[in-house]
């Protein structure tokens, strides 16, 4: 039995590598063939992952021991951990990756660097699956970094765009900053436990201060990878990459890796560390939600939304709600990638329809509008997944959020109350920006693009989106649309709050939907004068919300742009200045000392030489003088 698990795990893990290698090495000029090959490998990976899941489900966790290398008497292993969680994640990654490959085959058509794209996509999938499977922190760290690398390559895929390069570098460096922390965590773990095996680490009882330090350091890695405060600014910028990449990496998988790591290492985290985690998640989720409201770029809205949702998950983990967070991670993976891919279709369609003379930003939602009729399938998928994001009942997002809320309500301390309030308000904001987006993109009148006739793309692109949209429904989690305890979560003790929370959630979402309807409908359609005047409360809400939200969001965005980004820029500047200064010191002092010494030696030479003016009598004088000095020195 173990052997077959092992085989399946290897097939799942290595099929993407095979994709990477074949795409890299086999010189096929035809892009179609390349995409076909890589899609095939992904399918294989997905299928074997699914078989593994079915076969393994509810088995005891299993560690596949693999020795990697030995230093001294320490062995560094490359163990793989098979558990429900990891295999579930594996399936999700393989599945979304497969769909994204499929989607990309159409989306990236005509791109000159076709091969590099698919190669890196395969490589990314491999790395991500590595993170999911590995049972060794060092091994995990390796995939962790590799994921960052492939993210770099994919963000910077369009090398002709300088911004792409900048965004890619930014993403990688910010990840590196987090990873440096992670690395320190690794050092601490090594020095404390002398092993990297996660299973062993979690089993060993240590409560030293090192444990807090180690967990916080590992959390640094999470902050970088999952775009948490304060290292989140790379994520919106990373939208410079191709949209399928954003869907795969910056929505579904890579950024979720941080959350997954937290879940994985949860046992290591001490109370204090968890508090830090929760507060970080809280800050991030607020910033993300507010910022998403003020964006015009469709992908950036989604990026901030992702950030916010990730913050939510991390907050939940910080509060000890691990399973619910993981559930939200899964549902989020589906609906957010669906949103991205749908947005990609919109962009793609607009880009194709865009006439050569008329150049506008195809990602700006102010330029869109009224696409409902032109792109009906996309509208439907967007609506479905958007609803899931907003937490509308009958969608997966509703259930997973409810799971978090339910778990939080059972806690009764002050902090969890605060967190509860935060989550509730954030989910309100989520509804707001989701509907704002849907409204501006699909509803109303076509604005800039009135004359354009964007068309739905081929089924190759639509199929994955539709599949993902279907996955945003409640069935993914459980058969009962109001009970999150489906097949994934272990049955918990029944909570008396659960029903109330469900009801509250439904009402709350409903209020939010209605409010947003008002705001954005009124804001964009100026025809209905009476209606606007009729609702003074509306007006007040509008003003209050308008002022509060727009000010605060612009303030946050300002802060982000001005302070955090600027701060990092400033850090970069300081660093560059420091570097120049050091270079100057190097040139002038250290080098200068050497040159100076040479010069001094030369000077010494000149002095000794000046005794040699060619005048023999002076020579004699110096000689005699030296003898006299010698005599005096020796006599003393």
């Amino acid at each position: 039995m173990d052997n077959s698990f092992q085989l399946l795990a290897f097939i799942t893990l290595l099929a993407p590598v095979a994709s990477f290698i074949t795409v890299c090495l086999i010189a096929v000029p035809n892009p179609k063939t390349i995409s076909f090959i890589s899609i095939f490998w992904m399918l294989l990976s997905f299928v074997s992952a699914t078989i593994l899941l079915i076969a393994f489900w509810k088995n005891q966790p299993l560690v596949l021991a693999l020795d990697w290398f030995i230093v001294g008497d320490h062995s560094f292993s490359a163990d793989l951990a098979l558990s429900n969680r990891s295999i579930l994640m594996l399936v999700v990654v393989a599945f979304i990756s497969f769909l994204v490959h499929l989607y990309s085959a159409a989306y990236m058509e005509g791109d000159p660097d076709w091969r590099r794209y698919f190669a890196m996509l395969g490589f990314f999938t491999f790395s991500m699956q590595g993170i999911v499977l590995s049972d060794n922190l060092l091994f995990l760290f390796i995939f962790w970094e590799l994921v960052g690398f492939s993210s770099y390559m994919l963000i910077g895929h369009w090398t002709k765009k300088p911004e792409a390069g900048r965004a890619a570098s930014k993403a990688f460096i910010m990840n590196r900053i987090g990873d440096a922390g992670f690395l320190v965590g690794l050092m601490i773990v090594w020095a404390t436990y002398e092993t990297f095996s996660i299973t062993e680490i979690l089993l060993s009882p240590t409560t030293s201060t090192w444990q807090s330090a180690a967990s916080l350091c590992i959390f640094c890695g999470v902050i970088g990878k999952s775009a948490q405060f304060p290292l989140f600014t790379w994520l919106p910028d990373a939208m410079e990459g191709p949209t399928p990449v954003s869907a795969l990496i910056h929505a579904a998988t890579m950024v979720a890796a941080g959350v997954y790591l937290l879940v994985r290492m949860y046992g290591l985290f001490t109370e204090d560390a968890l508090l830090v985690v929760a507060v970080t998640g809280m800050i991030t989720t607020i910033i993300g939600a507010v910022a998403a409201l003020s964006q015009y770029d469709i992908k950036r809205i989604l990026a901030y939304s992702t950030m916010s949702q990730l913050g939510l998950m991390i907050l939940a983990i910080g509060m000890g709600v691990v399973d619910a967070a993981l559930l939200h991670l899964l549902t989020h993976a589906f609906f957010k990638s669906c949103l991205f891919l749908s947005a990609g279709i919109v962009i793609h369609a607009l880009h194709k329809a865009q006439p050569a003379h008329l150049h506008f930003d195809v990602q700006d939602i102010r330029n869109m509008g009224g696409l409902k009729t032109k792109l009906p399938t996309t509208f439907a998928t967007f609506l479905l997944s958007g609803a899931s994001l907003a937490g509308v009942p009958f969608f997966s997002g509703f259930l997973s959020k409810e799971a978090i809320l339910t778990a939080l309500v059972t806690h009764t301390n002050l902090i969890s109350l605060l967190m509860l309030v935060v989550i509730i308000s954030v989910s309100f904001l989520t509804v707001l920006y989701t509907f704002r987006m849907i409204w501006l993109v699909f509803m109303g009148e076509a604005r800039t693009i009135r004359s354009l006739t964007p068309e739905e793309p081929s089924w190759v692109m639509r199929l994955p989106v539709v599949i993902l949209a279907l996955c945003s429904l409640w069935m993914l989690v459980s058969w009962n649309p109001f009970d999150f305890k489906g097949w994934m979560l272990p049955p918990a003790e029944p909570s008396s709050y659960a029903v109330w929370i469900t009801i509250f959630s439904v009402i709350w979402v409903g209020v939010a939907v209605m409010l947003s309807w008002y705001i954005f409908n009124r804001g964009q359609s100026k025809t209905n004068e009476a209606l606007r005047n009729g609702f003074y409360v509306d007006k007040v809400y509008g003003v209050v919300l308008g002022v509060v939200i727009s000010t605060s969001s612009s303030a946050v965005s300002f802060i982000e742009k001005r302070w955090i980004d600027r701060g990092i820029h400033a850090m970069v500047y300081v660093q560059v200045i420091l570097a120049h200064f050091v270079a100057w010191v190097d040139r002038v002092f250290i080098d200068g000392t050497v040159n100076g010494t040479a010069r001094l030696a030369g000077l010494g030479g000149k002095i000794t030489r000046s005794f040699q003016g060619g005048n023999i009598q002076l020579y004699i004088f110096w000689a005699v003088f030296a003898i006299i000095i010698f005599i005096i020195w020796a006599i003393k």
Partner: protein
């Protein structure tokens, strides 16, 4: 046959150089061929050697022939030997040397000025490098060590760039200064050490293995571990260690003794840069491990804080300087400074992980820096312009080159999957662990040095961003056409390096198998002997 393999390895290039010397200088092709043939012969010999190499503590392929045996009257007998052997430390350096010289030989085909002289010097350099790595007699080591200087001086000076004169002299002076420091200790050591095998008369020996045993020191000699002299506030053994340390650190190079390196690299022709970065720098680290640490273990332990500190300073300082560099080769040179800082940090920790990391780092840096200099060479050979800001958008023009650059740069910044990662992570683990295991260096050193990783990513990515992203453009209009795709020869030299960097990143055990017994023994010996000697004082 087997017992002459090492000599064959050392003397093949010398014989080749001798043959080349007698060929008229108009046969330019011939010199390339003879260098190639020589490298191939060396590779064959090396393969033969590796087949019979067994990873263990014992010396293998030992050749021990009397060389100098001078009767010094009342002082006894001075004995130097032709003593070469392979053990767990130098096996990988010998492999590296043969491999890199092969690469350098092929990439030297671009040299078209005074080809004969160039290849003769390169072959001599080859012999000297292999000799340095295999010699176990201090005098022999020193001979080969110094023997490298002059060929290198001329290679930089005669075939280098516009400021090559300055650079070559600077190189020579710095390294000679280092070797003088070593020479002082060499004199003191051989006078203090006697061969234990001969008891009839005092036999002063240069045998490095015998120098490492404290009981071989003559009683009350200056370096006598039982009773070393005080000179100023330090004892003679500490002085001896410091002299050796700084002597080798110049070669390494270590901040603040590194300034020869950027100049030498910037001015040297590409293959020479490759040899310089990949092999000559390693001799510094090799010397520390072969001589400075084992001979003066207690001083080494006593100064480990200094070594670690200087290592960290080198890491950060080199990285910051790399960031400020406008010249691609200078950037790579400073990155070398940064990377070699890890060697010091790992050594200072004196843990199995740290020392393994140091050795691995040297090996890995040998491969990666060679690749990086070849990368820089591709541009400078085409346009003679290495200023980073003068290029943009190269990725679209030279996609294959871009891929290799990515491999090189990411390998150098320690991306997992490449050999540099294994090395650096081992150094980090060792350095951090050190305080709790043997209390040599503080954890903060390891933590601070992780900044080096961030900075490393910073300067490499910034460079990629400036040179490869955006619209294709090269300053100087006529230079746009010069950027032709990579030639087959360039592939031939760079791809093996990429593969090697990758291979040893994925399968570190390939190398660790060889060095594991050695490092473990090394660490234990240094710690044990060092502590014992410290207690004696």
């Amino acid at each position: 046959m087997q017992q002459y393999l090492l000599s064959l390895l050392i003397f093949t290039p010398l014989i080749a150089a001798l043959i080349a010397l007698f060929i008229p200088s108009s046969f330019e092709k011939f010199f390339r061929m003879i260098a190639l043939v020589c490298s191939l012969v060396q590779i064959l010999v090396l393969v033969r050697l590796l087949i019979s190499y067994e990873p263990s503590l014992s010396l293998q392929f030992v050749e021990q022939k009397p060389w100098i045996s001078l009767d010094l009257g009342s002082w006894g007998i001075l004995k130097a030997q032709y003593f070469v052997a392979i053990d767990g430390l130098n096996i990988i350096f010998v492999c590296l040397a043969v491999f890199i010289m092969f690469i350098a030989g092929i990439s030297s085909w671009i040299i078209n000025k005074n080809v004969k002289g160039y290849f003769v010097l390169l072959l001599i350099l080859n012999a000297a490098i292999v000799g340095t790595f295999t010699a176990l007699d201090f005098l022999l080591f020193y001979l080969f060590f110094e023997f490298m200087l002059l060929p290198m001086f001329f290679l930089i000076g005669m075939w280098g760039g516009p400021r090559s004169e300055y650079a070559s002299i600077k190189f020579f002076l710095y390294t000679l200064l280092g070797s003088i420091l070593i020479l002082i200790v060499l004199i003191g050591l051989y006078l203090s050490v006697q061969d234990p095998d001969q008891s009839a008369r005092v036999v002063h020996t240069f045998n490095l293995l015998q120098m490492t045993a404290p009981e071989n020191f003559i009683r009350d000699s200056i370096f006598d571990p039982a009773n070393p002299w005080m000179i100023g506030s330090l004892n003679a053994r500490e002085w001896g260690f410091l002299l050796l340390f700084f002597g080798f650190a110049i070669k390494l190079p270590m901040v603040p003794l590194h300034t020869w390196l950027p100049d030498a690299h910037v001015e040297a022709p590409t293959p020479v840069s490759v040899v310089l970065a990949a092999l000559l720098l390693k001799i510094g680290g090799y010397g520390l491990m072969r001589i400075a640490f084992p001979v003066f273990p207690e001083a080494a332990l006593g100064f480990s804080w200094l070594i670690g500190l200087l290592g960290v300073i080198s890491i950060l300082y080199g990285a910051l300087n790399a960031m400020a560099s406008k010249d691609l080769k200078r950037l790579i040179a400073y990155s070398s400074v940064s990377h070699m800082g890890f060697v010091l940090l790992g050594l200072a920790s004196m843990t199995t992980e740290g020392v393994t990391g140091s050795i691995y780092q040297m090996f890995s840096h040998g491969i990666i820096s060679a690749l990086l200099f070849l990368i820089a060479g591709v541009l400078s050979d085409r346009t003679h312009d290495r200023t980073i800001d003068h290029y943009s958008g190269l990725a679209t023009k030279m996609p294959a080159y871009f891929s290799i650059v990515l491999i090189g740069f990411f390998a150098s910044m320690g991306l997992p999957g490449f050999s540099g990662f294994i090395a650096e992570i081992m150094v980090f683990l060792g350095a951090f662990k050190s305080n709790s295991v043997n209390g040599l260096i503080h954890e903060s050193l390891a933590v601070i040095s992780t900044l080096g990783l961030i900075l490393g990513a910073g300067y490499y990515l910034w460079t990629i961003q400036r040179m490869f992203f955006g619209k294709f453009h090269v300053k100087g209009e006529d230079k746009m056409e010069l950027l032709t795709p990579l030639s087959a020869r360039e592939y031939m030299v760079m791809v093996p390096l990429c593969v090697a960097a990758f291979l040893f990143g994925i399968f570190p055990q390939l190398i660790l198998d060889w060095i594991n017994p050695y490092t473990e023994h090394f660490v234990n010996t240094i710690l044990d002997t060092g502590k014992r000697l410290t207690l004696n004082l």
